[in-house]
């Protein structure tokens, strides 16, 4: 979640639209972005919604959690897991997902696109 990179901030939704410790899918033009409210860590993450394994638009419906303190999401289809910080696949596959910066202002969620 670095703000150092020059990002255009896109207003995605209200913080209350996203369930605690879960995700939702955000429509941004023709893209689909998975947004996660990691309440337990008091952190927000955003990644591409498509799981690269079988090209399914599903990561926002996956369970989030951690592996040795690294926050991750598990795809509901075949339980491939990806780091929410780096996008790297943590279950040994040669694929990764795109991540986006997130910022919260006045109860609004912005995604850096």
């Amino acid at each position: 979640m670095t703000e150092a990179i020059s990002a255009t901030w896109f207003l995605a939704c209200n913080t209350t639209d996203v369930p605690e410790n879960g995700g939702v899918c955000i429509k941004y033009n023709d893209e689909q972005i998975a947004l996660f409210n990691f309440t337990r860590r008091n952190e927000w993450y955003a990644t591409q919604n498509e799981c690269p394994h079988r090209k399914q638009m599903a990561l926002s419906r996956g369970m989030i959690g951690s592996n040795n303190n690294e926050p991750k999401v598990a795809c509901p289809f075949h339980k491939k897991t990806f780091s929410l910080q780096t996008g790297e696949c943590l279950s040994g596959d040669e694929c990764s997902i795109k991540t986006y910066p997130v910022k919260i202002e006045d109860g609004k969620v912005f995604i850096g696109v």
Binding site: A12, C13, D17, V18, P19, E20, N21, G22, V24, C25, I26, K27, Q32, L35, F38, R40, R41, E50, R54, K55, Q56, M57, A58, R61, G62, M63, I64, G65, S66, N67, N68, N69, P71, K72, A74, P76, F77, K79, T81
Partner: protein, 833 residues
């Protein structure tokens, strides 16, 4: 650089390359010629090709592996000539390669007896993936199959026929019994009866004299004048070494085939080695993979200046033939010289065990196991390491009676150099060191570190035991815990959550766990909460702790749509309700299919349509079928005494009663039931977690059956009981299971792991051995009284209902990436990209 040419890219040829590269990377220039078009694959597990494995799954290493290691691999290009004078080989495509050292690993071919008609269409051999592909194509129009050969390979081929859907298959063996080289007559008899029970027809002492038919096979004639009809035949009557190249270039070969080698695998030409099934050592062809690997290791060791000799090889084998364990070890047939044999024959369970003991009663010489080979590894080690037998040697095949002390002693008694994995030559000490020094604490880690268990896989149970034993010896506590966030087993967690009366996943994690949770602990904890308190699974923030299917109360399908399964208790449905389902399916354009559990599944629903679909279904009188949950699915029934002329009792009414009692019960895994109105068992109740079958006097209750990948018949828990007693026993049984099973463990596996097995389960459920029955019955009554339909709650609660949208910032839009194809006038999900 020394040039090594390997002829043959089978399992042994590959293993030679792998071992050479591992021990001396980039020291040699290696060229490999293979006849087949694929790089080496696992021929031992070839029959799994029909059970769904792909050619890639079976591959030993991809073509890129050879490239990365500087090996020139020529596939589909067999060597045609060996020019020993100029040390050159010439391939089919004309590639000429010089060698300093030549390794022949051409393996073997199927032995095809010269029977008239053997050339007819529909006659196959069973050796390569190509053979299998040809068989699969032909099998589509075949109904009656035959296999010549009742040995190890023949029975593998018979399994392949069953996998191909040819259920009427005959096995023809020339010898008077099956597997004559491995097991004795009594063991063969048990094996025969078990195979016959699976539908195979076994013919022994049969000599095939003609394969008859016009263009393709139609029947087979035997020397005793008998015949059978068959439209497909697989010949798997043995192997013959591929020694034609060796003969052509003048190497010494055996009279009955095979390239003669000495104890370093050298042929009569000192620059040429032969390994694997083409090599003849001490008048013997070693037709197993483990000795082939050992031969490869010997050539590698000696090439690198070491000194290692082949001293023959233990031909002990253990395999699962069509689900039946068969093993033989040491000298299975040892007799005479005061040698004594102990045999156990259990025709009821189909188990035969024989051990041969030296005249002084101290050492184990060999033996045979059929039907149950759990003790194979322990027996093999006892035999190979000359471990002194206990005073009552029968104990080692009868199993530990009353105590489990023997099992641990079995491993501890082994010497450090005892060979555990014979495929990869890994000894006991290697495995113990991998655990104590390299820190491997899973079987996978040990496999990676030592390669043990990566060949035939037969030693894996022993590797696991050694791992646990070493960890225990290091003072490590070995327990089945949920994951890194919970240092508890499911059962411990169940009790703790109950005592502390915790109601949400987040609180369970805070009070009993560490960290942030994960996909391994969330579903089981959410399931425990639902089993204990029976509250709505989507409320109190527990929705995001549910597995995706539970979270959206529907099954996610290929493409990202969901399927909808309304409950149809007992499979009984009115015409009005059928029409209602049809109307909903039409309106939302859903694919409809009857399920195996007598319900109707509606596929292809968009997430945002789910609440509307359920609104209409609930208005029509339906409720959730919990097809998405680890909970009761269906109680299947036959039509029973209301219509059937054989029916003894009303199985449909009883099935409905049971299904409505246990609907919504969250459990460690899914639960299925069945009720049959008579012994004909049309509801297939014995393949369910609980099955009830009508008798003249009442009902028989069976438990812990399973379909799925490892089918298992349910076991009889109680006989001739009335409906009230049956429900009582079921309440107790289900609560016992819900409380104690590990996550994702079906009742069958739960019982298999239970000490004391079905006898103990009877003691608990019927005789109240744990004193828990009153509690469990009360718990179940509470479940029944607090049940509510989750979908009804979801559509009536606005904050739950709004979660069923694909885009949170564009709720009216559906996922534009979802696409369908058409098939037989309905839709289907677009294939994976």
């Amino acid at each position: 650089m020394m040039q090594i040419v390997v002829i043959g890219n089978g399992m042994v040829g590959y293993k030679f390359c792998e071992k050479l590269i591992a021990k001396a990377p980039h020291q040699f220039q290696i060229t490999v010629f293979g006849e087949e078009i694929r790089p080496a694959y696992d021929r031992v597990h070839l029959s799994e090709f029909f059970a769904g494995k792909s050619a890639d799954d079976l591959s030993m290493a991809p073509a890129s592996w050879y490239e990365e290691n500087g090996i020139k691999l020529h596939l589909g290009d067999p060597v045609q000539t060996i020019d020993r004078t100029n040390k050159k080989v010439i391939s089919f495509h004309g590639i000429i390669t010089h060698y300093d050292v030549l390794v022949i690993a051409t393996g073997s071919a199927a032995f095809v007896p010269s029977i008239p008609g053997v050339e007819k269409k529909g006659v196959f051999i069973y050796r390569t993936i190509e053979d299998l592909e040809l068989m699969a194509e032909w099998a589509k129009k075949s109904k009656k199959g035959a296999v010549i050969g009742g040995g190890l390979l023949g029975l593998e081929a018979a399994k392949a026929m069953l996998d191909l859907g040819i259920n009427d298959t005959h096995v023809i063996e020339f010898a008077p019994r099956l597997m004559p080289r491995q097991i004795d007559a009594a063991g063969s008899a048990i094996l025969t009866s078990k195979l016959e029970a699976l539908g195979l027809s076994i013919h022994t002492s049969k000599n095939t004299i003609e394969i008859a038919g016009d263009d393709a096979i139609q029947s087979m004639k035997f020397s005793d004048g008998s015949h059978i009809d068959a439209d497909m035949l697989v010949i798997s009557a043995g192997i013959k070494p591929r020694d034609e190249l060796a003969i052509q270039c003048g190497l010494t070969t055996g009279e009955r085939g095979g390239i003669l080698v000495n104890e370093t695998m050298q042929t009569s030409d000192e620059s040429i080695y032969a390994i694997g099934e083409c090599a003849l050592y001490n008048s013997m062809i070693y037709g197993l993979v483990a000795p082939g690997y050992e031969m490869a290791d010997i050539v590698v060791t000696n090439l690198l200046g070491g000194n290692k000799a082949f001293l023959g090889f233990d031909m002990s084998t253990k395999l699962k033939l069509i689900g039946i364990d068969v093993a033989s070890f040491g000298n299975p047939f040892a007799e005479g010289d005061g040698i004594r044999s102990i045999t156990i024959e259990d025709r009821n369970k189909g188990i035969y065990k024989r051990i041969n003991i030296s005249s002084n009663g101290k050492t184990l010489l060999g033996g045979v196991l059929v039907g149950d080979a759990d003790q194979y590894n322990a027996l093999l080690q006892t035999c190979k390491n000359n471990i002194v037998l206990p005073p009552n040697p029968e104990d080692i095949i009868l199993g530990a009676r009353g105590s489990d002390a023997d099992q641990g002693a079995g491993i501890t008694a082994l010497p450090d150099d005892a060979l555990i994995c014979s495929c990869e030559s890994v000894s006991k000490i290697d495995i113990c060191n991998a655990v104590s020094e390299a820190g491997c604490e899973t079987v996978d880690a040990i496999k990676k570190c030592t390669k043990a268990g990566t060949g035939c896989g037969g030693c894996i149970p022993m590797v696991k035991d050694l791992m646990l034993y070493t960890m225990k010896a290091q003072g490590k506590i070995v327990r089945t815990v949920l994951c890194e966030h919970f240092n508890y087993s499911r059962q411990e967690l169940f009790d703790l959550v109950k005592i502390k009366k915790i109601k949400t996943y987040d609180e369970v994690l805070s009070e009993l766990g560490t960290g942030d949770g994960c996909e391994l602990c969330k579903p089981p904890v959410a399931s425990i909460l639902a089993s204990l308190w029976n509250e709505n699974i989507l409320k109190k923030g527990n929705d995001t702790a549910q597995d995706s299917n539970d979270r959206f109360l529907a099954n996610i399908q290929k493409g990202g749509t969901y399927s909808v399964v309304p409950r149809i208790p007992g499979g009984e449905i009115t015409p009005e309700k059928l029409i209602a389902i049809g109307e909903v399916a039409k309106k939302y354009q859903l694919y409809t299919k009857i399920t195996g559990g007598q319900r109707i599944d509606l596929f292809g629903a968009h997430l945002s349509d789910l609440p509307n679909i359920w609104q209409e279904l609930i208005d029509a009188g339906f409720e959730s079928g919990h097809a998405y949950g680890k909970s009761l699915r269906t109680v299947k029934s036959c039509v029973g005494s209301t219509w059937c002329r054989f029916g003894l009792h009303d199985s449909v009414s009883f099935a409905i009663q049971i299904e409505e009692r246990y609907r919504g019960l969250r459990s460690p895994h899914k639960l299925k039931g069945g009720v049959s109105g008579c012994i004909r068992e049309c509801a297939e109740a014995q393949s369910k977690d609980f099955g009830i079958i009508a008798t003249e006097k009442g009902w028989n209750l069976y438990v812990c059956g399973n379909g799925g990948s490892k089918p298992q018949h349910a076991l009889l828990l109680a006989t001739d009981i009335d409906e009230e007693t049956c429900v009582k026993y079921l309440d107790r049984f289900l609560m016992f299971y819900v409380k104690t099973a590990d996550p994702l463990t079906r009742t069958a596996t739960w019982l298999n792991k239970m000490e004391g097995g079905i006898a103990y389960l009877k003691a608990v459920v019927i005789e109240d051995a744990l004193g828990m029955n009153a509690t469990w019955e009360a718990d179940m009554d509470n479940h029944v009284n607090t049940y509510e339909c989750e979908w009804k709650a979801a559509i009536e609660t606005p904050e739950l209902r709004k979660r069923f949208n694909h885009f949170v910032n564009a709720p009216a839009e559906k996922d534009p990436s979802i696409q369908f194809d058409e098939m037989r006038t309905q839709k289907k999900a677009k294939d994976w990209k």
